[in-house]
């Protein structure tokens, strides 16, 4: 009997404690800085090295490049199309880890639900426009170079 009464006491005491429900759709949920959300792409920085497409574990990145119309700049190729298939992207952030220029970075957005599968195939324009909540730390080796080897 004693165990039952103790259990009843626990639930009764819990009624007066603070509630832990998030008011989610009404208030946005704030994710910490390192959160791996949907990617953001900046076409000017991309040098079409193909590292992201090669490292992706599910091969969801397809990209094509074209010759740089500006003959003076050192960069040979600029990005023409860049597609990310979010049906199979697992948001593992390997693409941001290997990108040498931080052209592709992750944001803290995670709301990607859509009504049809076609909408999940995002192209360059959408990824460029997705520039809210961009993550600050992306490529760990560049981070070390920026901070002079600290950490």
């Amino acid at each position: 009997m004693k165990g039952l009464v103790k259990g009843l006491g626990v639930t009764l005491r819990n009624m007066t404690k603070k509630k832990v429900t998030y008011k989610y759709p009404d208030e946005p949920m704030k994710m910490p800085n390192r959160f791996r959300g949907v990617q953001h792409f900046e076409p000017e920085k991309c040098i079409v090295c193909n590292q992201c497409a090669r490292i992706c574990p599910t091969e969801c990145i397809t990209l094509t490049g074209k010759k740089n119309p500006d003959p003076e700049s050192k960069v040979k190729l600029v990005i023409d199309t860049f597609d990310l298939n979010f049906e199979i992207c697992i948001l593992c952030d390997l693409c941001t880890e290997v990108c040498p220029t931080e052209a592709i970075v992750m944001t803290n957005n995670f709301e990607l639900a859509a009504y049809s599968r076609d909408e999940l195939f995002k192209d360059k324009e959408w990824l460029t426009a997705n520039n809210t909540n961009v993550r600050e730390e992306n490529n760990v080796s560049l981070l070390k170079a920026k901070k002079g080897g600290a950490e």
Binding site: L4, T11, L12, N14, M15, K17, V20, T21
Partner: protein, 339 residues
């Protein structure tokens, strides 16, 4: 109300009775709606979360929304099911649980029927809803609902017996089965209420009542995260709503009965508080019992079927029989001392 009952039946009084019955039905339906809401909110608070709060202000429209959803669902009947029995089973289950509410005195002037065999009428009718459950299990033409229905029938029958026998202790002490008179005998301070002299009967009655209601920790027929979904697996839409309605109306009826038999009905805990109307006291005590049943649901795990049967027959039944003997002996001793 009492004068109306004793007069000969005329069209006027018949219409009055019919109107009051409809009013009671509507009041009970309203109470059930908010009983379901209260249960979800209380369970939420016990689990560190808010219950429903998005539909309507504070979530008050949640149950009407759920009922609306159930009403507009498709009414499916399995192909080889026994159609007349399938349709009538929820009704057989619901009607007794509502009819017993007529006998309970809510305050000195608010009662619907003043039967001299109130307790007997109550337990007899509550036994009838067992038939509805067995019929529902049988008529669904589903092996698993048959097993579930049989299990719950076994549970209901085995716990009806300690229920009745523990109520007999109260009847012995009050000398009558009339619920009005039982309440009147508990007037005065709160230590006159029956739950103190009849503490053993009180405990046995509460446990049996929770088993009769199919509530945790005895909710094998209902929650069934184990195997089959019980007797109402094939019911959907409005028929399922009637089964759920039965459960909550029966819960209200049982809480009202516990209040009447053991907590002094509409009497205040102390004579100087009698200026507050009796109905308010009835409501407060009833809410306390109701909260206790919900509190148990939030805390306890489920009992296994064989442990449930052995608890009913080997523990509760001997205890309630012992209670009758002890009550009778003590009453004889007091009579011998006094006279």
């Amino acid at each position: 109300m009492g004068e109306l009952l004793t007069q000969p039946l005329s069209w006027g009084s018949f219409l009055t009775f019919a109107l009051m019955a409809i009013v009671l039905l509507l009041v009970i339906l309203f109470m059930v709606t908010y009983a379901i809401y209260a249960e979800r909110k209380i369970l939420g608070y016990m689990q560190s979360r808010i219950g429903p709060n998005r539909t309507g202000k504070f979530g008050l429209l949640q149950t009407p929304a759920d009922v609306l959803k159930l009403l507009i669902k498709e009414d499916t009947i399995p192909q080889k099911a026994d159609r007349p029995l399938f349709k009538i089973a929820p009704i057989i289950s619901f009607v007794p649980s509502f009819v017993v509410l007529a006998t309970i005195p809510y305050s000195e002037n608010m009662y619907f029927a003043n039967l001299d065999i109130g307790v007997l009428y109550y337990v007899a009718l509550s036994g009838l809803s067992t038939i509805g459950i067995v019929l529902g299990g049988w008529a669904s033409n589903n092996k698993y609902s048959l097993i579930g229905g049989m299990r719950s029938a076994a549970q209901l029958v085995s716990y009806a017996i300690p229920l009745v026998i523990s109520a007999v202790g109260v009847v012995l002490m009050s000398g009558t089965m009339n619920l009005m008179a039982i309440v009147e005998r508990q007037s005065g301070w709160f230590w006159n209420w029956n739950f103190i002299p009849q503490i053993l009967a009180f405990v046995v009655f509460v446990i049996s009542a929770i088993a009769e209601l199919n509530r945790t920790p005895f909710d094998l027929p209902e929650a069934e995260s184990e195997l089959v979904a019980g007797y109402h697996v094939e019911y959907s839409g409005f028929r399922f709503a009637i089964y759920m309605l039965t459960e909550y109306v029966y819960m209200i009826a049982m809480s009202a009965l516990i209040t009447t038999l053991f907590f002094g009905g509409w009497h205040a805990p102390a004579p100087f508080l009698e200026f507050i109307p009796g109905f308010i006291w009835f409501l407060l005590k009833f809410c306390g019992v109701f909260f206790f049943i919900i509190w148990l649901r939030g805390t306890m795990p489920r009992i296994r079927i064989d442990q449930l049967m052995s608890l009913g027959w080997r523990v509760l039944l001997p205890l309630s029989l012992a209670n009758i003997f002890v009550t009778a002996i003590v009453m004889e001793i007091i009579k011998a001392i006094n006279g």
